[in-house]
Symmetry: C2
């Protein structure tokens, strides 16, 4: 059967019309040891912003030194939406030492509790249908370390109401999460300048 | 030897200081059959824009139906730079049926000539140090089809003056290009909603 590039490979026997199926929310996972996992997730957020999506970014990182470039641009795009109505609203939260919505200061030792609190907030927002697109950046690590329960995450994602897209990034995505995702991309490192004694640089790495 | 996460794996014996090496321009290739190749490249451009880089995007695609979301946002960011001085300037060119700088209309049959003309313009801009970051989107296809000579591309990239970063995307990157790149990431498809009879949708695919 001849198919166009964008045609589905097959039509599943799930009782849904193409339109219903098309409008299902996407769960995407970007994993692997290569670069581009977060960058591609933020690229998806850029596209969503342009369509007027409400964007929620949650960075499960200890240090917020990296990826400040994206944060600055998305904060600017969020302001642009407030000022001119272009695109959609943007919220950008990072764990760092405690989430911005949390009053407690957080310490170096609180990462497990911070991660659990971040997930609890995301679960509340999913129930409230707060955003159209959620980026859970480096969320595979709290899953891997057992700070957040994978089975609960999978269940909450499966049962989430409405049409909320979720993109999860990070190495070593748990198999249960991969199995539950609609779109899983593995980024593999083929060559990297750091292997040739070169360090990260402005505009490329941050 | 204990190393921090961001330390280079080894220091090459190339006569360069760490600072000199750090400031070398990056040639990056995003290849493989998975998603995220272009999206991650545009994410890098976003980061570069935020650092004030002059961004030049060249899309070697026949149809410009896809990725209009990114184009709209980057055109908006380019305007923002003109209006407020924030970020850097942006030029976004696509082959479509003829490049924007070309006076001739172009026909369906002109793709090989159009691709060669696109590359000739990029070569001129590299010689003139026009941009800080070039995104050559889906440029592997004209290379694969022999419309643009791989060896010439590799030579021009190797000999380019100043500090101009180049990111090339597309499946089946030729080996000579991979060998010449500093950073090669392979995106592999693990699972995709299209395999389950779902078509692309607004905000996710475009």
């Amino acid at each position: 059967m001849a198919q166009g590039k964008l045609d589905p490979d097959s039509v599943p026997d799930d009782g849904l019309t193409t339109r219903q199926r098309r409008n299902l929310p996407i769960t995407a996972v970007h994993t692997g040891t290569g670069k581009g996992k977060s960058t591609a997730a933020f690229g998806m957020a850029l596209r969503g912003w342009n369509q007027g999506f409400s964007i929620g970014v949650f960075q499960f990182v200890k240090s917020a030194k990296w990826k400040v470039g994206e944060e600055e641009v998305f904060r600017r795009l969020g302001s642009l939406h407030t000022e001119t109505g272009e695109g959609g609203p943007v919220e950008w939260h990072k764990m760092g030492s405690g989430w911005s919505w949390s009053r407690k200061a957080g310490t170096e030792e609180d990462h497990a509790a911070d991660a659990a609190e971040g997930w609890a907030e995301i679960r509340r927002r999913l129930a409230a249908e707060t955003h159209d697109l959620y980026v859970l950046d480096e969320f595979t690590y709290p899953l891997k370390w057992g700070w957040v329960d994978v089975d609960e995450v999978v269940r909450v994602l499966r049962e989430r109401p409405g049409k909320q897209h979720v993109v999860i990034t990070g190495r070593d995505a748990p198999q249960a999460l991969v199995d539950a995702a609609d779109l899983v991309t593995e980024m593999s490192l083929v060559a990297h300048p750091m292997q040739a004694g070169r360090k990260g640089q402005r505009g490329i790495e941050w």
